[in-house]
């Protein structure tokens, strides 16, 4: 894989690998990100992934862009050859359709199949979290199978409840907090994806998400456990 480093202002460098949404490219960038953080370079502030970029920000009073690029080159080259950084796969229970997924029927019509088949397709694969953005806990994930990749609504809804799971083209994701949005909402998770008391989400960029269909009764049980603070998000071993 080829990459290039582009200065972004005087305190950041973007490592760019092509211009397509490709899980292999993104996972390689996540691996580079881990390596850069693990190197604890004193001038480096942090790394922020995008789809095909990893932006490294640094303190411009401690080093110039040129110096930072020189430090990054061997780290990137080593991370290009290294095994992919370890990541988690998280199980996210979702109650599809009904009041939780007002757009499920539309997506089924779009895919020319039944609602059950849409659910089967949506739960059929693990989704990579390319990066987090827009809101805390908002994960940009992809890609859904082509048949259900329905474009977003022409008119965004004014409020989508927290936990809603939706599709926007090849992207899928969940709303950590209630917010306006134009995604096709097909279900809702009972998990609390954003908690102001513990704002850090349990999933991170580079992790995988697997959706698991649950009944309305199971949804209610999990929601109660979440409210009681006894529910632990489940990882896949």
């Amino acid at each position: 894989m080829d990459y290039r480093m582009i200065p972004v202002g005087d305190q950041a460098v973007a490592i760019e690998m092509g211009t397509t949404i490709d899980p292999a490219v993104n996972q390689r960038l996540q691996t580079i990100g881990q390596a850069v953080l693990a190197a604890h370079l004193p001038m480096v502030k942090t790394v922020i992934p995008g789809y095909a970029t990893l932006t490294v920000t640094f303190n411009g009073q401690m080093a110039t862009t040129e110096m930072v690029m020189k430090k990054l080159t061997p780290l990137i080259d080593a991370a290009m050859q290294a095994k992919l950084a370890p990541h988690q796969t998280w199980l996210i229970p979702v109650c599809y359709g009904g009041e939780f997924g007002p757009d499920l029927a539309d997506v089924a019509a779009f895919a020319k199949c039944s609602a059950e088949e849409v659910i089967a397709k949506h739960t059929s694969r693990d989704y990579l979290i390319y990066f987090m953005g827009f809101l805390p806990g908002f994960a940009y994930m992809g890609s859904v199978v082509d048949e259900i990749a329905m474009p977003r609504l022409a008119e965004p809804r004014l409020e989508i409840p927290a936990g809603s799971v939706g599709i926007a083209g090849a992207q899928t994701g969940f709303y950590p907090v209630a917010s306006p949005g134009g995604w096709r909402i097909i279900g809702q998770t009972p998990l609390k994806l954003y908690d102001p008391a513990h704002p850090q989400s349990f999933y991170h960029a580079g992790d995988l998400i697997r959706f698991q269909a649950v009944s309305a009764a199971e949804f209610a049980t999990i929601k109660q456990a979440v409210a009681a603070g006894t529910y632990q998000p489940k990882g896949v071993a």
Partner: protein, 338 residues
């Protein structure tokens, strides 16, 4: 516990420090002071670590009562300020007593002011920072701008070494009568824009609109032609000039979203970021392109006056007698001189 009581909140008065840069990859805005240089100077003047939490206010400052003796410093924009009715100069350290009332009025020049208190504002940190991100109700005091009646915990402090050495010249602020010159670096998508657009950006005047907050300042001026190509979402940086579909650039600031998909035509040089943040609504700005090596030399030079102050203060610190005894001894010395 000592505290500051907010009698009048001013406009968008918030607790800010260095923000949460390390949590941007989880989608949290960086946040932190929008004029980082001014916040740093305020802290230095009262003997704090550079990144201690301060109060940031915009266009109209708060009125504050102190419950315990401490030391304060005001930096950033010029505000009409008084302590118990007596006018108070900015950019120097002042001792305040329990019951003192500090009234910060309208900004007379510049936009954003800072109040540092010895020991720093002691609100509860969230994700390693006390910065308020209002949009997410995160940090600060309940994640909100301050309101009348709010109590902010601080430390009681009666002695500060080198009190008389703690002053600095005022920072450079935009003049309303003349366009503020802001130095830019070419952005990662500079080449996506046609030549006429590149020229328009650096040859025209833009104006700071009323749509300006801690997320970013929208500019109005000659419309920039947006390239047809689409950009995959990528991390945003402070100072990026993002060009949305309407062709009116937005300069992204502290509370910006962590990623974005609009092309970045240019990025404000860090050395001018605080100066830019100090522009009031209606302020005209002119952009000037500079190269990366120039920007980095300028940025490195910013530290110099701060380092010098630190030197002065530290050297002063080791000249006995200290603190109150020194004030007394100087008074006695003056009696003999007369």
């Amino acid at each position: 516990m000592a505290y500051l009581q907010i009698l009048k909140p001013g406009i968008q008065t918030t607790v800010q420090d260095a923000g949460r840069p390390q949590h941007q990859r989880d989608g949290f805005p960086e946040s932190g002071s929008i004029d980082q240089g001014a916040a740093r100077v305020a802290n230095l003047l009262v003997g704090n670590a550079e990144q201690a939490a301060v109060l940031e206010f915009s266009l109209l400052g708060p009125t504050i009562e102190f419950s315990a003796p401490t030391f304060i410093a005001l930096t950033g924009a010029e505000f009409a300020t008084d302590l118990n009715g007596e006018s108070l100069a900015a950019n120097r350290c002042w001792q305040v007593q329990a019951g003192d009332v500090l009234t910060i009025g309208n900004a007379t020049k510049g936009r954003v002011g800072y109040l540092a208190v010895a020991g720093g504002i002691q609100t509860q940190p969230v994700l390693g920072s006390r910065s308020t991100t209002m949009r997410l109700h995160l940090g600060g005091l309940n994640g909100q701008a301050l309101a009348a009646g709010d109590l902010l915990p601080v430390k009681r402090q009666v002695v500060l070494p080198s009190y008389f050495h703690r002053h600095l010249p005022a920072e450079r602020l935009p003049e309303q009568a003349t366009p503020a010159e802001i130095r830019l670096l070419k952005g990662p998508q500079w080449d996506w824009f046609d030549e006429a657009t590149q020229t328009a950006l650096v040859d025209s005047e833009y104006e700071i609109s009323n749509q300006a907050d801690r997320m970013g300042y929208r500019l109005t001026g000659p419309k920039l032609t947006v390239p047809e190509r689409s950009l995959l979402s990528t991390a945003t940086v402070r100072g990026a000039l993002q060009v949305p579909a309407n062709g009116q650039p937005i300069v992204l600031l502290a509370d910006r979203q962590t990623t974005g998909g609009y092309p970045i035509i240019a990025v404000v040089a860090t050395v001018d970021l605080g100066y830019f943040a100090q522009c009031q609504p209606g302020q005209k700005v002119r952009f000037k392109l500079i190269g990366l090596p120039t920007a980095q030399t300028l940025l490195a030079d910013v530290r110099q006056p701060l380092d010098e102050l630190e030197q002065t203060v530290i050297t002063g610190k080791y000249k006995p007698p200290y603190g109150i005894s020194r004030v007394a001894s100087q008074r006695i010395a003056r009696l003999f001189e007369d």
